[in-house]
Structures are given as C-alpha cells and as structure tokens.
Symmetry: C2
Subunit: 162 residues, 2 copies
DNA sequence: GTTATTGCAAACATTTTGCACCAGC
DNA sequence: GCTGGTGCAAAATGTTTGCAATAAC
C-alpha cells in the first residue's frame, strides 16, 4: 500500500453525490442489490481521483466499515466493471487500479511511483479504432496511456544522482 | 498457463537470428554477460509472436534448459526491459507479457482469452504525445491498445448463447 | 580471479474461491 | 422467504528476494 490517510485530490462533493445517485438508479435498473458495502466502495472511487487499488479502497473504508472484507471489495469491483459502472486502469505493474469516471479519457501513468492521473486531450479523443484493424477482431475500446515520470519522481531521481 | 506445445505463429527464423545477433552485440556494449539462459529467453521471445508471459517462456524452455529457474526468467526479463531489449505489454489481467519487438507498434488484446497480437496502423503511428500534457509530467511513451474480442472467442460466445 | 548471474526455496503481493451466515428486495 | 451478497479463511496465482554455488569475462 502506498498512500496513508494524507489528504488526496478529490472530486467535488456535489458531483460525487450525483454519481452515487446515478449509481443507485443503475443498480436498481439492473437488479443489482444496493448494499452498504457496494455504496461505500463506489463512493470511495467516485471521491478519489488517484485511481485506488482494491487494497487501497479497503484501507480507506476501515473506519467506516470495519468488517468489510477485502474479498468483498474485489467481488464488488469486478461486478461494477462488468456492469460498466467503473473502469479498470492497467498500469505497468501488478495491482489493478479503478476509475469511477467511465467517460472516455486518457491517463498519465508514472512509471516510478505508479501514480495514475486523468488526462483529457481533444487530439486523442478524436481517434477512433483504425479501419485497418482486421474485421475478424471485434474492437471495443481504444485504450491510450501516456507513460512517463511525474514531477515529484523527477525530483527524487535528481536527488539520487547527486 | 494457456498454450502447450501446439505450433504457434512465429517470426521467420532468419529474422530471429538477426535479432539474436543484435542482442548479443547490445549486451556486450552494455557490459551485460551473455549467458545461455539469457540467450534462450531472448530467442524464445524473438521467435514467439504471441507475447508470452514469464511462466510461458519458462515452460517453452523446459526441454532445452531443464534447470532454468522461473526466478531467472523474471530477473532476465526485467533486465531486458530496463535495457530496452524487450517491451512489457500490459493486459487487462495480472500476468505481464513480453514482446521482443521494441519498434513502435500497437497491440490487439482479446479480453476473453487474453491473447495479444501485434498491430500496426499508420494512423496511430503518427500520433505523438499531445501538447496539452502538463509540462511537469515528463512523457516518455504513448501506449495504445485496442481491446476487444478475437475471432475464436466470438465463436465460443455464440456457442454459450445457444 | 572477479564479479555478475544462477538455482533453489521461501517470502511476498495480489486475486480468487468454498462455504456458512446474513440481508436486500 | 427467496436469492444474492458478505465475511472469513484458505488456496491459487504471479513476482521478488536472500544466499550459496557457479560461470562469464
């Protein structure tokens, strides 16, 4: 686990509430039960702009739901992904990271600290699946990541080189 | 592990040998020792167009190098990646996959069988890192994947629905 | 001969699963 | 009340590491 309970960049509360309301409705439509665990996991993801892993979400909810099990977090996140309520963001390393923002957008991924931040570029948004993709492959999604080194990690690199 | 020893799409032998020669030279230049293990792992990757995981590489070399340990495969692959001799391909799931083709290209990833195949599109090759990326983020690489369902997995889906 | 590399086993990290109990609808 | 969801613990999967023996240069 990387982040403790330091204050992290978060989404505006009114937007979070709007998303949670939409989430409840979407669950009801699909016949998925709205449990306190599901709502808490979804809200954590909606609040948090840092694309937390399952373990991080679990840690953030320790106080609010002390009995919440990590297995439930995994199960819940998997069902959210299946229903298109969250997106899984793949990073160069192992742990899966999740994003409540399901609108098309890109990510900046730091290869040093593995931080993920949202990034939207009109030039990239316009790109569609190329016509040259073989027709027998049913393309569904164009996944674009910009991999590099974030500012804080650049500073650390310099420290090491002195 | 997915694939046994069924015949898989492979790179032309003469190209593989050329790549291996370049590999040896590059190692010598960088002062990296050319061991039988390294050469075997590199050759496996150069031959194989299916972007094998560390475990798959290890399995393919069982006969050739029975004592080769999986830990060595991991170590060797990591050093290759660090030296820019191979690329790590991230798939939606856990296991890391590797590619001896380090020239810029894209991948088609099947979200069902997790197969990865190379794909080159001029329209995507032209895309550079957008100017709108914040200057404090040192962008190094634009990573584009096309996620979807491959032909064989489409057939299997239909079977299930009957 | 020096030093990086290897094999082994054990640790570690992440994710999944079986099953009894519990709770949303 | 029915059915799906949860918690727990254990297993499965993927990757890393410490260390003594080994081999490349």
């Amino acid at each position: 686990m990387i982040n403790g309970n330091t204050s992290l960049p978060s989404r505006p509360p009114d937007q979070v509430e709007a998303w949670c309301a939409a989430f409840r409705q979407r669950c009801r439509e699909r016949g998925i039960r709205v449990t306190p665990q599901r709502l808490a996991v979804y809200r954590t993801l909606a609040q948090d702009l840092s694309h937390p892993s399952a373990d991080t979400v679990h840690g953030r909810l320790r106080q609010e739901l002390p009995t919440l099990s990590l297995a439930t977090v995994y199960r819940v996140l998997e069902s959210f992904e299946r229903e298109g309520l969250v997106r899984r963001v793949s990073t160069p390393d192992g742990a899966g990271r999740f994003d409540a923002n399901v609108r098309p957008h890109q990510h900046l991924v730091c290869r040093v600290c593995r931080g993920v931040s949202d990034f939207e570029a009109s030039s990239l948004a316009r790109i569609g699946v190329p016509r040259s993709v073989p027709t027998e492959f049913r393309a569904e999604e164009l996944d674009i990541r910009i991999v590099g080194v974030c500012r804080p990690c650049q500073s650390k690199e310099n420290d090491g080189n002195l």
